[in-house]
């Protein structure tokens, strides 16, 4: 059938550090060595937190936990570009972002141990609660960005979600809205190749997830999500655009979920070992370390000292978590409304009595 082309779209990809940690110098952005070290430290800290969370879960001290193993660069690299005044709308697998933003880490243990207080950002940090319902936070982020646009706040709003999240209606509607009004929102899709047991290839017929931005008229870019330098570079660009009123942008960070989906999952049921083994070759922490080593900016002693420091810090966070008392039974009533309605106050009294009777 004869037709004429009326529009052409390119999907581009950015990668700077290769798998061995060698940088393409022609693409290397100006970036201070201190920053690079700092970023590497945050990646390591994230990984050590993650390991500890897994062992706390095995010991029954926290509940279901989603590991970020393999996604440290995508998270730390993107969050490093943010200011404290920006607003972050995470999915449920963003430990690296929390670590980077300086969130009190004992709260994360507390949240995964079934305590609402763990997901409340302290004043001065703007991270909304984890979005367990996949993709639902995307329209929230667009709404927050619309509020910023209305008030002319010079902030960016960032939403994190996964490859699975791109199949949801919320994703599409949120993107489309952002394409129309162009508020300052940056969408970071961590394509870790799996949505529980569903591989990326069965999630969508699209060849890239970045191209989903085309449907909304949004600028889009695929990035090697295991390449910290590329992530940071792309994110700096996207955030700057957003802050300067140029509208939303989509970053597909191609990475890999090296662990099970969560501690409630067993990935061996559905994915081949070789795929995982191959993915380990591309994992971001070793790659970054190699790069630092090539700059002579990181020694084995520094590595050991930092790891020891991380272990100490995480120990302290675990202790802080373990020492936190449970909320009283009234905690389930007191934030339902600004004031407790009369009937609810009666139920609250019932609950207090039932709780006393049970002890």
């Amino acid at each position: 059938m004869p037709e004429r082309v009326i529009k052409t779209f390119d999907v581009k990809r950015l990668e700077i550090l290769d798998e061995s940690g060698t940088a393409d110098e022609s693409l290397m952005p100006p970036i201070e060595e201190g920053d690079i070290r700092r970023i590497y430290e945050l990646m390591t800290l994230s990984r050590i937190f993650d390991e500890r969370a897994l062992s706390l879960q095995r010991e029954g001290r926290i509940g279901t936990y989603p590991s970020i193993l393999g996604q440290e660069a995508a998270q730390v690299g993107s969050a490093f570009a943010l200011e404290k005044t920006d607003w972050v709308f995470p999915s449920f697998r963003e430990t690296g972002m929390y670590v980077t933003m300086g969130y009190p880490l004992h709260l994360l243990f507390q949240y995964w141990a079934g305590d609402e207080r763990g997901v409340v950002s302290p004043e001065g940090l703007n991270i909304v609660p984890v979005s367990v319902s996949v993709g639902t936070h995307i329209p929230h982020a667009v709404g927050a960005a619309m509020a910023a646009r209305y008030r002319r706040d010079r902030i960016a709003v960032v939403a994190y979600f996964g490859d699975g999240g791109t199949s949801k209606g919320d994703f599409h509607e949120g993107f489309n809205f952002a394409g129309v009004f162009r508020p300052p929102v940056v969408f970071i899709c961590q394509n870790n190749q799996w949505a529980i047991s569903v591989p990326r290839s069965a999630q969508t017929g699209a060849k890239t997830l970045a191209q989903k931005g085309i449907a909304a008229g949004l600028e889009c870019l695929q990035v090697d999500g295991n390449d910290l330098i590329a992530m940071r570079t792309a994110m700096d660009y996207a955030i700057k655009r957003a802050r300067h009123g140029h509208g939303g942008m989509v970053i597909e960070a191609v990475t890999y979920r090296l662990s099970d989906h969560t501690t409630a999952d067993d990935a061996r049921r559905y994915r081949p070992d070789d795929e995982v083994k191959a993915a380990w070759e591309r994992e971001p922490v070793r790659r970054m370390k190699a790069y630092l080593a090539s700059l002579n900016a990181w020694t084995d002693e520094e590595e050991d000292a930092w790891k020891a420091e991380c272990a100490k810090r995480i120990d302290a966070e675990v202790n802080a978590y373990l020492e936190t008392k449970s909320q009283p039974v009234t905690a389930m009533f007191d934030y339902t409304y600004a004031d407790v309605p009369a009937d609810l106050a009666a139920q609250r009294a019932e609950a207090i009595a039932a709780d006393k009777a049970a002890h």
Partner: protein, 326 residues
């Protein structure tokens, strides 16, 4: 002072609150240039600009989610569902996010937002334009579900809803949007939420209803009066949190209760009121509680819809049954 209809009272309340509070924004399909398909937002975009009266794309899920995002940032969004039959995709954001934001963040973030929707049948509309599905919201903690039944209450309750620090579902009985006019001063006086309104005093039977059915129920009370039966009429107005005390006080006096609503009977909100009576007023009741409701079928297309809805006759008959029973 000019007399206005219920829908004009909605517009008046929106305009008032936008005037006094710059954090109030209105969003929805066709709410801007077109002023809403029922004209509820008529003139607002001209007055307050397109940044505050936002014509959205056709995406109920995101209108709802956007509302949560805006409210979480301290705005006071008033979202419109064009008809209540299209509110289903808004549910997740209402139930899982709006209603819980305060709870999830231990009060750090809140959701002072309003979802408005034209509600109910009786206007000869196409499919999915006649729903009475308040049941979707009444079992969800953290929400208020409010329904006005007169121009004055539309104005006062909508002001209260916008000012309320928690999310409110504001259902507007479209059948009475233009049924009659009354004087509604634009004085910014809100009416209380969480309160039932006693519209007519009576001593023999309590008629409890809300929304469009208030009209039929008041007419039924007239008809009963003509036969020497004294009916008290209560407009529930805020379904949840329910002001059961006002209902209970009335039933203490009358011993009889007829609940009227247009949603299907089974598990409609009338059930909650009857349940409260069965728990807390059983010794006051001298007759079985009656429910005059839509049937447990879908509201039919418009040829038959009036046969589906509660009518004056059905209400009168039910009231008489309670009198015959004791």
């Amino acid at each position: 002072m000019a007399q206005i209809t219920l829908i004009e009272a909605v517009t008046q309340a929106l305009a008032h609150e936008m005037r006094v509070d710059p954090s109030v924004v209105v969003l929805g399909e066709d709410v801007g240039v077109n002023g809403g398909v029922f004209r509820a937002t008529q003139g607002l975009q001209e007055k307050f600009g397109a940044a505050r009266v936002i014509d959205t794309p056709l995406c109920e899920t995101t209108i709802s989610g956007l509302t949560v995002g805006l409210a979480a940032q301290g705005m006071k969004p008033v979202a419109e569902a064009q008809f209540e039959g299209f509110i289903y995709p808004m549910m997740e954001h209402i139930a899982c996010h709006a209603a819980r934001l305060r709870n999830r963040t231990r009060g750090r973030l809140t959701c002072p937002a309003v979802w408005r929707a034209p509600w109910g049948g009786g206007i000869r509309a196409p499919e999915h334009h006649s729903e009475a599905n308040e049941h979707l919201f009444t079992n969800i903690p953290g929400l208020r579900v409010v329904m006005p039944s007169s121009p004055g209450r539309a104005y006062g309750l909508l002001l209260a809803a916008i000012r309320d620090p928690d999310p409110v579902i504001f259902l507007e009985p479209k059948r009475i949007y233009r049924q009659y006019k009354e004087e509604v001063p634009d004085d910014g006086e809100a009416l209380p939420l969480d309160v039932c309104f006693v519209l007519r005093d009576g001593s023999d039977v309590t008629l409890v209803t809300w929304g469009a059915q208030v009209k039929e129920t008041l007419e039924a009370a007239d008809a009963l009066a003509a036969e020497g039966i004294s009916a008290e009429v209560i407009d529930v107005a805020t379904l949840t949190p329910l002001d059961f005390d006002t209902i209970h006080e009335s039933v203490r006096k009358t011993g009889r209760c007829v609940i009227v609503h247009e949603a299907p009977r089974t598990a409609g909100f009338g059930a909650e009121i009857a349940a409260r009576l069965a728990s807390e007023a059983i010794y006051d009741l001298v007759a079985p509680v009656e429910r005059v409701t839509g049937y447990d079928t879908h509201i039919p297309l418009y040829r038959l819809e009036m046969k589906y809805l509660p009518s004056v006759d059905k209400i009168v008959a039910a009231a008489k049954r309670t009198l015959a029973a004791s």
